[in-house]
Amino acid sequence: MIDVLYFAWVRERIGLPREQVETQARTVAELVEELKARDPRYAAAFADVSALRAAVDQDLVDDFSASIEGAREVAFFPPMTGG
C-alpha cells in the first residue's frame, strides 16, 4: 500500500486529497497508468502529464521514470506557484 496525494487542480479533478492505493507499479509513470485505468476522473487529471509534477516521499522527481519501490507516499500536482 502506498499513500497517493493530490494537490491543487489535480485534487479537484480527482475529487479527493489523498488515498491509499494497492499497486504493482515500480515507477511514477506506471502508477499514473494504473490510476488512469481506474476511472474517467483519473484519466482526465492525468491526460497531459507534461502539465504535472510528482514527488516521491516528499522529494520532487525529475521525471516520471523515477522509482517508487519502497516509497511511502507519492504526490501529484501542477507546477508550483510559491513566493
Binding site: 516528499q58 500536482f77 508550483m80 506557484t81 510559491g82
Partner: protein, 157 residues
C-alpha cells in the same frame, strides 16, 4: 512568533497560516549581531489577478514537503554564500489584496552575499516550494499558472 524549524548551522523556516508583521520579524532578525553588516529582505504581497480585481487568494501547500524543500534551499544558500543567518516565512490559507504572503531575510557580513542569497531563495521559492495559488475574482476561481520566466530564472544559479 513561535515555531519554525532551526536548520543545521543557522537559518529558520516558518510555514504558517497566521498573518505576521514583516517589520517585527525583520527587527528581531537583525537585532544585536556584531557579525552582520548587511540585512536584505523581500516581502511578497497579494495583488490583483492579471484578469481583474481579486476577491480572495487561496494558497494550498504540501505539509511536510514544504518545510523540507525550503529547508534545503536555505541550507544551499548558507553553503553558497557567506551568511550569518537566513529566515523564510511563508503563509498558506486564505488571503486578501495587500496581505503579506511571505518574506525572506538574509544577514551577511557584506551586502553582495545577502542580496545574492535573497534572490536565490526567492527564485527557488517561486517554483520549487510546494505552494499553489488560486485566485478568486468576480469571474470565478482559477489556479495561477506557473510562468516560464520563473523556471528560466533558476538557470542562472
Amino acid at each position: 512568533m513561535d515555531g519554525g524549524e532551526r536548520i543545521a548551522g543557522a537559518g529558520r523556516v516558518v510555514v504558517q497560516e497566521a498573518p505576521f508583521e514583516p517589520a517585527d520579524m525583520l527587527r528581531d532578525f537583525a537585532r544585536g549581531r556584531g557579525d552582520v553588516g548587511a540585512v536584505v529582505s523581500f516581502t511578497g504581497l497579494v495583488r490583483d489577478a492579471d484578469s481583474g480585481p481579486l476577491v480572495t487568494m487561496q494558497i494550498e501547500h504540501y505539509p511536510g514537503m514544504t518545510e523540507r524543500a525550503i529547508g534545503r534551499m536555505v541550507e544551499e544558500a548558507m553553503r553558497r554564500w557567506q551568511l550569518a543567518d537566513c529566515l523564510v516565512i511563508h503563509r498558506y490559507g486564505e488571503m486578501r489584496k495587500g496581505d503579506v504572503i511571505m518574506m525572506v531575510a538574509t544577514a551577511a557580513r557584506h551586502r553582495a552575499d545577502a542580496f545574492a542569497a535573497a534572490e536565490f531563495l526567492m527564485d527557488y521559492l517561486k517554483s520549487r516550494a510546494p505552494f499553489w495559488k488560486k485566485e478568486l475574482t468576480e469571474d470565478g476561481a482559477e489556479w495561477v499558472a506557473a510562468r516560464e520566466a520563473d523556471e528560466e530564472a533558476l538557470r542562472r544559479w
